[in-house]
């Protein structure tokens, strides 16, 4: 697909509006715990979509296996807290770094080749990570899963204490803050020299190599940052839902949905993927699941196919082009 990432002010405005909507959403709709839990999962997905799109929109590389990083982050953080007694915030950070390690393990062999090798290698990697988690029972409890993962400890701001254990609202705003942080990281990276190199690689790898862009290194950097952000969200997820199993943490959902969100929102924009993910979660929760209770994910497949063929720039991309 051909698209131009335009750092026009209109996109920055949309980003501001998006975060304003996110901040005010509970006030507009509801503080009802059921709705809040949907909003939190939407934000987790929104952040992972931003991270996924750093690779695709930024660097032209498709990953079919971001669940690997999500699961690594989730399990690492849960185990560091429960088996080693770490502070959950520190554990989240270290879990994200372990996600980077995973990215290096798969990225270094797979990025040596061009074409679809990376996309499929990482799909296999996610399956293998799930397999290992299911079988290393001494460490991970295997397919039984890990129960009672502790919440994040309360944050004290002056006299106010923000409780994670009792309050979904705190979790919601913390997830929103994480999404904003990830957006900032990606914004800064895409506006740096490395970001420029990434755009060249996306345009044409051979030309990029010809003008002296270190193609391999650029891809690896994009992957590691993307993996860091995804694993961070995985770690947050672990402390938010308090339960992990290989099937939940390495679920294909975490690989597929960021793709759907990014494509739907606009792969050539920075903020689009998160908007796409938020909208898709809403559609799924309130519409798709009413149609087909078991097979509701078939809509995502259909959506991917339709968007890529008839609207490859996505919703936001389309809207921005008209302006």
């Amino acid at each position: 697909m051909k698209f131009h990432l335009s750092f026009r002010s209109s996109e920055k405005m949309i980003a501001v509006i998006t975060f304003a909507v996110v901040l005010s959403l509970p006030f507009i709709l509801s503080f009802n715990p059921y709705y809040l839990s949907i909003f939190v999962s939407a934000l987790i997905l929104g952040s992972t979509s931003l991270a996924w799109n750093l690779l695709a929109g930024g660097c032209g590389q498709v990953s079919f296996g971001h669940a690997a990083f999500f699961g690594i982050g989730a399990y690492a953080s849960a185990l560091l807290v429960m088996k080693a007694g770490w502070n959950p915030f520190l554990a989240m950070l270290v879990a994200a770094i372990l996600g980077v390690l995973g990215a290096l393990i798969i990225g270094i062999p797979a990025f040596r080749l061009r074409g679809p090798y990376f996309a499929l290698s990482i799909l296999g990697f996610a399956e293998v990570m799930k397999l290992l988690t299911s079988n290393l029972t001494r460490l991970t409890e295997g397919s039984k899963g890990i129960f009672n993962i502790p919440s994040l400890p309360p944050i004290r701001l002056g006299g106010i204490s923000l409780e994670f254990y009792l309050s979904r609202t705190t979790n919601y705003y913390f997830a929103a803050a994480l999404m904003f942080g990830i957006y900032l990281i990606i914004y800064l990276l895409r506006h740096s020299n490395t970001g420029l190199a990434m755009s060249t690689v996306r345009g044409d790898e051979e030309t990029a190599a010809g003008i002296g862009v270190p193609v391999f290194r650029t891809k690896v950097i994009a992957l590691t940052v993307s993996a860091f952000c995804t694993a961070l969200m995985g770690a947050f997820y672990a402390h938010y839902v308090h339960f992990l199993s290989p099937d939940s943490a390495f679920d294909g959902y975490w690989s597929v949905m960021p793709i759907v969100g990014s494509l739907f929102g606009g792969i050539g924009t920075l903020i689009g993927p998160s908007i796409g993910a938020l909208v898709i979660t809403g559609l799924d929760e309130f519409i798709f699941k009413r149609f087909f209770e078991t097979g509701h994910k078939l809509f995502f497949g259909l959506l991917l196919a339709v968007v890529i063929v008839w609207a490859p720039v996505g919703l936001l991309g389309k809207w921005m082009r008209k302006k």
Binding site: G60, V62, F64, L120, V128, L131, L132, K297, L302, A305
Partner: protein
């Protein structure tokens, strides 16, 4: 202590299974070799063939080997439609698009199966296939032999179709040089449609065999796609007979993993092998030929 008989037994089963692996991945390898498109919905086409055979067995008691033509026809039809409705329109755009598109088709199909036929694992076994033949303490089931024969024949037929038939030659020449083929009067658009449909047909053949030997389920597809890609890379892109050797290596390796380590790590062997191939010999065992 593991006896010699056990080792020979598992090597033999691995070799037989390996040829089936070659058939399971034939469609993906063929489409990638000819069109440079990785069909992420490959496994789902295969599973479709498996479900067709399952229904024929349940409704009319039809032997899975007899349902092969119908299974192949349905998968070829699904493949044909996918190409005509979607893929054709973005054939010439970035590679990323065809990957995501076929991935989307795969998600659509696997969830459609889930909705229509539930998540149950469907076995298509018939009784006589489980009867064993015995050679000095080593057992092979008739089913293993029958599927081996079908798979081997499938690979050979495709190989000779590409080498000898006029249409096969047209497909190969289009893969080598699209523009020259078009100048020579070959309708390259039709060749693309044909090649993709053949890919689906080949996938559909694998379904009944997989269902007869183990099972099919909505989740089987993606695992098959991964395995098919691993084998394609191991064999070397474009090498059809190489798939049999690659399949046998994978089959024996997996059987050895089960015998010496544990069956839970069976799938791990293929992935480790894949990483080693990427690092050591990315062109595969028999690469760089079409």
């Amino acid at each position: 202590m593991i006896s010699t008989t056990t080792i020979i037994q598992s090597i033999l089963s691995g070799l037989l299974e390996g040829v089936n692996y070659a058939l399971y991945c034939l469609g993906l390898a063929f489409v990638f070799g000819i069109m440079r498109i990785i069909n992420m919905a490959h496994g789902e086409f295969l599973v479709l063939g498996g479900y067709i055979a399952y229904w024929l067995l349940i409704k009319w008691g039809l032997n899975p080997l007899l349902s092969l033509p119908l299974a192949a026809a349905f998968a070829a039809g699904a493949s044909f439609l996918s190409y005509r409705v979607f893929l054709q329109r973005i054939r010439t755009t970035a590679e990323l698009n065809t990957l995501i598109l076929t991935f989307g088709i795969g998600i659509f199909l696997s969830n459609l199966y889930l909705q229509l036929w539930s998540a149950d694992l469907r076995n298509i076994g018939v009784h006589w296939m489980e009867n064993p033949l015995q050679f000095g303490g080593i057992y092979i089931s008739l089913g293993e032999i029958a599927t081996f024969a079908v798979s081997f024949a499938g690979v050979l037929v495709l190989h000779f179709f590409l080498r000898r038939s006029k249409m096969g030659k047209a497909i190969r020449i289009t893969a080598i040089d699209r523009d020259a083929a078009a100048l020579a009067g070959i309708d390259v658009e039709r060749i693309d449609l044909l090649a993709f449909s053949i890919g689906g047909l080949l996938a559909g053949l694998g379904g009944p065999l997989l269902g007869a030997l183990s099972f099919v389920s909505p989740g089987t597809g993606i695992a098959i796609t991964i395995k098919a890609f691993i084998l394609t890379v191991l064999a070397g892109v474009g090498s059809i007979p190489g798939l049999i050797v690659a399949g046998m290596i994978l089959g024996v390796g997996e059987a050895m993993t089960v015998t010496f380590i544990t069956s839970s790590y069976r799938e791990l062997f293929g992935f480790v092998l894949f990483l080693v191939i990427l690092l050591v010999r990315p062109s595969g065992l028999f690469g760089k030929r079409i």
